[in-house]
């Protein structure tokens, strides 16, 4: 199993930390992982993205230009990364602020209105965990307990009281993700 993922959105949406939690969840299940962020001028106030690779084998290139899954959280990222999903691959997006919805006919498309849901739940900070939950509904990559363990590993201890809230957000994501179009 190898899963190559791009997560892209605005800086501050929790794109990089979501990638880190995915990686730690993989580590908990003995997988090889790599996490390659954008660290250039774009992260200083603009878009942020991270390439995550999870695999049962030694990972070759941490830098790739086509993906099994794209998780897209703003319009700029949609414009940049929709075309990079492999045919038959998965695109998950949040509809908030999206003016041009995905148009590809050869990939699986799911929508999760996580920004809206996070506001309803009373904390915009859990936005990325709702998205993560939705993604893990579509791709059952790990046991949920590995994700919670991964969350614990990647959060500093002073934030561990936030884990139940984040866990709730992951569960909410599992419930609210919607299929838009599938090819398989």
């Amino acid at each position: 199993m190898t899963e190559e993922i791009i997560i892209a959105g605005f800086g501050g949406q929790g794109v990089l930390s979501m990638g880190k939690i995915l990686c730690y969840s993989g580590v908990m299940e003995g997988q090889e992982v790599s996490w390659m962020p954008s660290y250039g001028p774009e992260m200083r106030g603009g878009t942020a993205n991270v390439t995550v690779i999870l695999s049962d084998e030694r990972i070759s290139s941490p830098i790739i230009n086509s993906f099994d899954t794209a998780i897209i959280l703003n319009q700029q990222s949609m414009d940049k990364f929709e075309s990079t999903v492999k045919p038959g691959g998965l695109l998950v997006y949040d509809g908030n602020g999206i003016t041009r919805h995905p148009e590809r006919k050869d990939i699986n498309i799911y929508r999760i209105d996580a920004a809206e849901e996070a506001t309803k739940m009373g904390s915009t900070k859990i936005f990325n965990m709702i998205v993560l939950g939705g993604y893990l509904k579509v791709k059952k990559l790990f046991k949920l307990e590995s994700v919670i363990k991964g969350l614990k590993k990647s959060l500093p201890e002073r934030y561990h009281h936030m884990i139940p809230v984040n866990e709730k957000a992951i569960h909410r994501g599992l419930e609210i993700i919607k299929e838009v179009a599938t090819v398989n």
């Binding site: 390659m36 941490p62 590993k153």
Partner: protein, 355 residues
Amino acid sequence: MEEFVLMKGNEAIAEAAIRAGTDGYFGYPITPQSEVIEYLAAAKPHERTGMVLLQAESEVAAINMLYGGAGAGKKVMTSSSSPGISLMQEGISYMAGSELPCLLVNVVRGGPGLGTIQPSQSDYFQSTKGGGHGDYRLITLAPASVQEMADFVSLGYDLAFKYRNPAMILSDGAIGQMMEKVKFKPQQPRSKKSPDWATTGKTPDRERNIITSLDLDPARQERFNEKLQAKYKKICEKEVRYEKIQCDDAEYLFVAYGTSSRICQKSMQMAREEGIKVGLFRPITLWPFPYNEIRMMSGQLKGILSVEMSAGQMVEDVKLAVEGKVKVKHYGRMGGIIPTPDEIVENLKQNIIGG
């Protein structure tokens, strides 16, 4: 048993530095390696091992602090990125000329000048062919993973002290910034003993130790240079390190180090799916360069693509290795652009197989 943790390459170097029993780190922050000093500051190494951590006022000051610490026989290191390493060149030449061991880390970014903060491999010439003045060499290690970022810290120190010569870890912004699993060696105590050449105060039973790179007498200076060259020859004979991946049946070869070698591994898989028998040769020591090991493969090869994020620096050593027996070309991107696996396959097809 130590467990795997997820860390950036820069953080792995910092943790490995504490565990290797480093006596002192002196540095000045610069993107894309500022996490080294950030991690060290947060890890409080003075509480863990008594290690000194000092943010110098400039890179020039930092390298001269290394000179002082190394002269006293201590395990000292610094890290920086390209423009900062350029500032250190005078001090590096002096340390080589005074036969002082130290560990240098260059997390390379695009140049020349201030360039960009994105990854590059355009400091190959600077590290392997000089950089500073005079006939000296830097032992240069090129990690290709976060694990190797950690492992090469103690390897670098071992080589530096074995040969009394500065050693350099030549990494790049991509490996510095990316996170992978890493497992650390247990904590090594800081050494209580000083090497016999260190300037720790004269005792009645020996001559005083002098550490200098100056000798105005040309005859003596020539003898000293001959001694240095003999040492470098020994390093070339004994310390070459490399990795060969799927080279047994290879008709074509990628030669690449660091980030480029990781990308080439993917290119190799893609090309092999199309039936192209290509292997990957990864130099781990860039100096001493594995000339013989590449030369020995030249009989089986139809062409070599040297891949580096530069205008073509390592390719000169690959050409020297095969002595014109095999076609050698360079492919690379500059200015902080990272080549993708498929553009490397395309280049192999056009310029090596078809060209």
